[in-house]
């Protein structure tokens, strides 16, 4: 029960591994970025879910509310999401440039063009 009671962390782990696997195994440069996004998202969910408190409400100052979720990780992840968006934009911009230069976004194809054997 306790093992499944923390199912949010299981989701984090599963997402992290899916993302990581895509980054490593995919040869398509855009799909790699998708994998990277899933990988980062798992870290975001991890932070957000660790802020939750059993029986707590949203962190808004209301009369009579003493138990609320920790707002700090939420704020941190807002920053991290912005960083993630910037990274995705940068990555995709690079893929566009790679496509212009090589006419392909498949890793094998590109490596073959640079050192044909």
């Amino acid at each position: 029960m306790t093992l499944l009671g923390l199912y949010n962390y299981w989701i984090v782990v599963v997402l992290m591994m899916i993302g990581f696997y895509i980054v490593i195994a995919q040869g398509n440069l855009v799909k790699k970025i998708v994998g990277l996004n899933i990988f980062q998202t798992s870290a975001f969910i991890f932070f957000i879910s660790l802020a939750w408190r059993e029986g707590g409400t949203a962190p808004i100052a209301l009369p009579g509310v003493t138990d609320y979720a920790n707002p700090l990780p939420h704020v941190l992840i807002l920053t991290a999401i912005v960083v993630g968006v910037a990274l995705t934009a940068m990555g995709l911009a690079l893929v566009v440039r790679i496509h212009e230069a090589y006419g392909s976004i498949e890793e094998d194809d590109i490596h073959q063009q640079d050192d044909p054997q």
Binding site: A86, M90, R97
Partner: protein, 495 residues
């Protein structure tokens, strides 16, 4: 004014970056503003270092919010030293950059280029100065994203691919760091490094903290290019514009090593890292493999930039080796090597930048016989190369000397032998370049070759000269490195 120096250290470069971007149509002005910014940064770094050389620390509350609620900037002997390295390298590389960048970057992008450079610079300074774990992550990404843009501006199309690979690996590294910081936050409820250090001992014997340590150590190792996580580095350094290679090779990996030291010594503490988790037995084999294998790969490279990039991986190995001795002397040798390797490798990459400026590329065949027409450039390469090998009277020798002493103190004889052997390998790959430049006839289709312009030569020789100055007059770097090691260990040492 002077109490705000820690904030100014980062803010000057950070605010200058958008300004320089707006000056994109006036490349010369953009360069001038960047130059002044970098010199101001160096000035602030020097002032900060002078304040902490007596072993004290400066605490600065960002925005007047007291830590641990607000972000704290904390300057002690260790990070003042790293700030000085970044400041010094950026201040010397800027005069070099003008001609080199005008040739390598399209005129309509020079302002954007300098803007990205300032962001990378500010990011690295921020990583070094902040005392907030999450802030470290954010600054890591600021400097990283700017570096990806800088590397992608290389002329070769492979530069973009190298930048992409760096982006993938760098992001995995920083995300690992972020997850590790999350684990630390769960257990302690704080992000301030000093506060973390105070609260960790209560919860140190938990799986969560060990997992945090693992994530943080692996994440940072990716950023500092610890063998075998170095795969992004050779391509990124080989295809980036000359000035970017000089700057990143001298600063980016050094700052990551500083962050590793900060977490290992200040946050987790020596006891936890080295006694409980026996970190030394992980670091030492990786460091030794990281010295030997990339050095051997370097010997077989034809492109000089690539050769030096592999040598950089090996040099990171030396720094990690010093840490893995788990002694004060080893730590001090590592911290000293941060500086000595920064000036040595920057000087070498600048000499290579001079060759690129005249030759267009630096394969060994293309630069054959170049020494005859470019004697000053090649002389700088030889002198800085001697420092890389570790010949007496150069800065490289000073670190090798302390590294050997640290190894002898622990009685690691095989390590001592290996250190000497790898110095010989370094001599081999430096000699390959020297042999090509001095003793081979120029290729048939060689272009008319002239000495590099003074604007490139003077900065190159400033750094090359400093490898000699700090090799002969080693008191200052040694004293600063000792001060840095004491700041990390937290207790005064008898040296």
């Amino acid at each position: 004014m002077s109490e705000h120096l820690p904030a100014l250290q980062v803010v000057i470069a950070l605010t200058a970056a958008p300004l320089v971007m707006l000056l994109n149509r006036l490349p010369r002005v953009a360069w001038g503003v960047t130059l002044v910014t970098c010199w101001a940064t160096l000035l602030v770094a020097v002032l900060l270092l002078l304040q902490v050389l007596d072993g004290s620390a400066i605490h600065y509350e960002m925005g007047g919010w007291a830590p641990p609620w607000g972000i704290e900037y904390r300057v002690d002997g260790a990070n003042a030293w790293v700030l000085l390295i970044i400041g010094l390298v950026s201040a010397v590389v800027m005069p070099f950059a003008r001609r080199s960048v005008e040739q390598e970057i399209p005129a309509d992008r020079i302002g954007l280029f300098y803007s990205a450079f300032l962001l990378a610079n500010a990011g690295l300074l921020g990583i070094a100065i902040t005392a907030d774990a999450f802030n470290i992550f954010v600054f890591f990404e600021i400097s990283a994203i700017a570096s990806y843009a800088l590397i992608a501006m290389g002329r070769d199309r492979r530069a973009v691919l190298a930048s992409y690979q760096y982006l993938i690996m760098g992001t995995i590294g920083t995300t690992f760091l972020l997850i590790g910081i999350g684990f630390l936050y769960i257990m302690t409820g704080t992000l301030n490094l000093g506060d973390l250090a105070a609260r960790l001992p209560e919860v140190t014997d938990t799986r969560t903290i060990r997992a945090a340590f693992g994530f943080i150590a692996v994440g940072i190792s990716l950023k500092l290019a610890l063998f075998p996580l170095h795969l992004w580095l050779p391509n990124a350094y080989s295809y980036a514009p000359s000035m970017v290679t000089v700057f990143l090779s001298a600063t980016a990996t050094k700052v990551a090593i500083y962050v590793l030291l900060r977490f290992v010594y200040t946050v987790f503490g020596f006891e936890f890292s080295f006694v409980e988790l026996s970190m030394a037995w992980v670091l030492m084999p990786l460091a030794l493999l990281g010295i030997v294998i990339p050095s051997l790969i370097a010997v077989f490279q034809d492109d000089v930039k690539r050769l030096l990039a592999y040598s950089s991986v090996a040099q990171v190995g030396y720094m990690i080796l010093g840490i893995s001795f788990a002694s004060a002397l080893g730590l001090m040798a590592s911290v000293l090597h941060l500086f000595n390797h920064a000036i040595t490798k920057a000087a070498l990459f600048m000499a290579v930048g001079c060759l690129v400026y005249r030759l267009g590329g630096v394969s060994l065949t293309r630069m054959a016989g170049a020494a005859e027409r470019m004697p000053w450039t090649m002389a700088a390469f030889v002198v800085a190369g001697l420092s890389l090998i570790g010949v007496p009277l150069t800065a490289g020798f000073v670190t090798k000397w302390y590294l050997l002493q640290a190894a002898l103190m622990e009685g690691f004889w095989p390590v001592v032998a290996l250190l000497l052997a790898t110095s010989l390998i370094a001599a081999v790959y430096i000699w390959k370049v020297v042999e090509a430049a001095y003793f081979r006839a120029p290729p048939e289709d060689a272009r008319e070759l002239r000495e590099a312009p003074l604007a490139l030569l003077v900065p190159t020789w400033v750094l090359t000269g400093s490898t000699i100055v700090f090799g002969v007059w080693a008191q200052f770097p040694v004293a600063a490195a000792r001060n840095a090691a004491e700041a990390l260990l937290g207790v005064p040492q008898s040296w």
